[in-house]
């Protein structure tokens, strides 16, 4: 975790907590609803807030279809991060209880940095989140990694359709998921290269083999992915750490 734990000049510049403000709605929402207390600094780190961001903490007991469409966003304590200097729309991150595993998890609902503003910003954001999440005992992060071969373009500006990049970016930062049925049938059409593609069970498996990264960029298909921070040596942690080192962020 050397690179994850190192506060780089890049992090000092783009994730300066001293410049970030936190507002709680209502003021005592955490204590009132959950009976727990997170300091402002912890909130800032848990949502990977960028420099000069304004965070609003809100308890969401349910999400409306108008807010999240068909995305399976959990109920929990959510942090909405407003920062026009970095974001095209507000980032939204929350902590919640996962019933199946009885674990406290963190859900990254929305990230939408300004195109071309800062390269590898999301990778360092994940590192900031990971450090704090591990500190308080969260063992998994989850998100919907949008994009890939079956995903339509999205339209951020009129007449300028864009491709979602989450399906490719998040696994490079350590997020993973099992390959789907349609991925596996497609893999059977690639008997020679990438070598050993048919032995891959997850996205991180694919990215590890020669030609796997290129294959996933073209043929991959995004869905819900998770980052395992149950120990300092999980594939998620080692993948993120290696990425940060290579990207020098």
């Amino acid at each position: 975790m050397k690179n994850i734990n190192t506060v780089t000049p890049f992090e000092d510049t783009h994730f300066d907590r001293k410049t970030v403000t936190v507002t709680r709605l209502p003021a005592d929402v955490v204590e009132a609803k959950l009976g727990i207390a997170l300091s402002d600094d912890q909130v800032k780190r848990l949502c990977g807030a960028t420099t000069n961001a304004r965070i609003t903490v809100q308890f969401k007991s349910r999400w409306l279809k108008a807010e999240v469409g068909d995305e399976d966003v959990p109920a929990g304590l959510f942090f909405e991060v407003e920062n026009p200097a970095y974001n095209r729309s507000d980032a939204v991150v929350g902590i919640y209880l996962d019933e199946a595993s009885d674990e406290i998890m963190l859900y990254i609902k929305s990230v939408n940095f300004i195109k071309g503003r800062v390269k590898s910003l999301a990778a360092r954001m994940v590192a900031v989140i990971v450090r704090e999440a591990m500190n308080i005992g969260i063992t998994r992060l989850r998100l919907l990694a949008a994009g890939g071969r079956e995903w339509q373009d999205f339209v951020a500006e009129v007449h300028k359709p864009e491709r979602w990049g989450g399906y490719f970016a998040w696994p490079l930062y350590g997020f993973d998921m099992a390959l789907g049925d349609s991925d596996e049938s497609l893999i059977s059409e690639f008997p020679f290269f990438p070598k050993n593609l048919s032995a891959c069970a997850t996205v991180l498996d694919v990215l590890e083999i020669e030609g796997g990264r290129e294959w996933w960029k073209v043929c991959g298909n995004g869905h819900y992915m998770e980052f395992d921070l149950s120990s300092p040596s999980t594939p998620s942690i080692t993948t993120l750490d290696a990425f940060l080192g290579a990207a020098k962020v």
Binding site: G69, I104, F154
Partner: protein, 69 residues
């Protein structure tokens, strides 16, 4: 709104008790919470799911531009 049972709540408090060790405000005793468990929607195939999610053309998901990775 779901009320968590005591067992789950005990675990929640234990997890966040670690926050105290790292400098957070003290954890308060509270028997009930309104933090509902995350219940997944009925299982549908990934293909169908992506079709629905993808139609939300202006939805805000966790995204990173391919040129900014």
């Amino acid at each position: 709104m779901t009320i968590m049972n005591e067992g789950i709540w005990s675990k929640l408090r234990r997890v966040f008790a670690k926050a105290t060790e790292t400098g957070a405000a003290p954890v308060k005793e509270r028997k009930k919470t309104s933090l509902p468990p995350h219940t997944n929607k009925p299982v549908s195939s990934r293909k169908e799911d992506i079709k629905k999610l993808s139609k939300g053309r202006n939805r805000s998901y966790a995204n990173v531009d391919l040129d900014d990775i």
